[in-house]
Symmetry: C2
Subunit: 296 residues, 2 copies
Amino acid sequence: MRESELLEHIYARSAGIRASGGWAVVVGPGDDAAVLRSPKGDTLIVTVDQLVEGRHHQTGTAIDLIARKAVARSVSDIAAMGGRPTWATATAVLPPGFTRADELFDRMAHWAGVWGCPLVGGDLATHHSPKHPLTLTVTIAGVPERGPVTRSGARVGDGVYVTGLLGGSLDSGRHLTFDPRVHEAAGLVGVLGDRLHAMIDLSDGLGRDAGRLAAASGVRVEIDAAALPMHPGVLDWNAAMGDGEDYELCFCAEGAVPDAIEGVPITRVGTVVAGSGCVVEALGERHDVSALGWDH
Amino acid sequence: MRESELLEHIYARSAGIRASGGWAVVVGPGDDAAVLRSPKGDTLIVTVDQLVEGRHHQTGTAIDLIARKAVARSVSDIAAMGGRPTWATATAVLPPGFTRADELFDRMAHWAGVWGCPLVGGDLATHHSPKHPLTLTVTIAGVPERGPVTRSGARVGDGVYVTGLLGGSLDSGRHLTFDPRVHEAAGLVGVLGDRLHAMIDLSDGLGRDAGRLAAASGVRVEIDAAALPMHPGVLDWNAAMGDGEDYELCFCAEGAVPDAIEGVPITRVGTVVAGSGCVVEALGERHDVSALGWDH
């Protein structure tokens, strides 16, 4: 069973789940983050991501960059819901003899502080096997600017937009140094208000992630390959949509959208139409790209 | 650096941390769980624990028991704060070719439901290496009955009590089938009220865990070896205090304490005195047992 199939299984099993103790599940499994409502009416966005050596970073990556990416990935999920981080927890499974755990946690605490979500708890384990990869999880809670903005609100006729530039994240090292689009997301919520219908962060590539947004919204996303904003050196639309780990925002909105937010360019890359999947039109041919990119 | 030293480093670094977005950190790193307060005044208890194949369970353990323990460990932390679980998230790093991920998540969802905290989100990763152990994390949020009850409130003159029986958890398999003491904790909060001064769950053994409670409270815990309630087959006080993974509650209270709560026996095992550490008196000799048991 592929990860994407397993996730579908989990989402189907999770329909209608109910919390206890006066808390309510507003958005359950299947979006960038869960959304809960407290007994007195506070909204809390919660996401968790893992960072596994050999999978999400190479052995030998600088400790500071590992710590940064572990926190930044979850911050990006909070941003994708139109939220701001408020507090976080972190866990680590350390290989035996790993001598820099204090530095690792200091840097995780540093980056969590930078993005406004101090580490309030966590757990540590050391594995017996020297082959065990360093494995981190970071859970971040956030508060919505208003909303929150889910993947499921896109409407036929919406424009499809991305922040920043796409492609080449792994080769360039940008996957270790990206800025999660927290301020940009908050800016978009402020400027667009109810015209901001759906949003997702681009972790697996625009093709697959816009396909997820399309599936959640019950629509089709059509992308114009010629419109894609690409980093210098990125060869073609296939790389721009499939390289993954951009951690830019993809959003669907109606009406006028600014050319930039918080100094980051915004590019219209497509349109929401009736149907399903994510389709790109390039040189007069159409390709279904919902399964392009990573499955992670 | 040992795990306990690293944790001390993290706790020291975390003093005075502040959340954003209107949330407040009531209890930060260093207790069984963190405690947060929402903008409108709701209290949320948050804990995260990891379950690593080869470390917390043996390869070949039944999927249902792995799932159960992964959830139960975190539920036990919520109980130790005098709380009830309300919602949860889970993550997994799967070895390549792991074919039973759907069953694993179904059983985690089952057990999360049993303890009142449905899985509202999570993350999945598959590692490339076939030697990668199955690694799970479960984060649980809870609401306090009132309180919450921390490790740091023990006072000189308090009695020291444990629920249930101690020792032999790993050899007997009880570490896979224990019932987290949620109802018992709630019962104690109800019966004892403000006389319940401090509580911790016994994951690493009474010696080490009572030592942590003593350190957090700035007191000494004295244990009477002859009073320890032991499972049949547990040889001596050393095993009862050092085997670990009991997941019983250890608490400090003043005044009368019932002999049982929710049908589970309560035994007075010692007294809080001035000083530091956890000391056991056995056959007329005194032993410092703060470093007995697991460091995990």
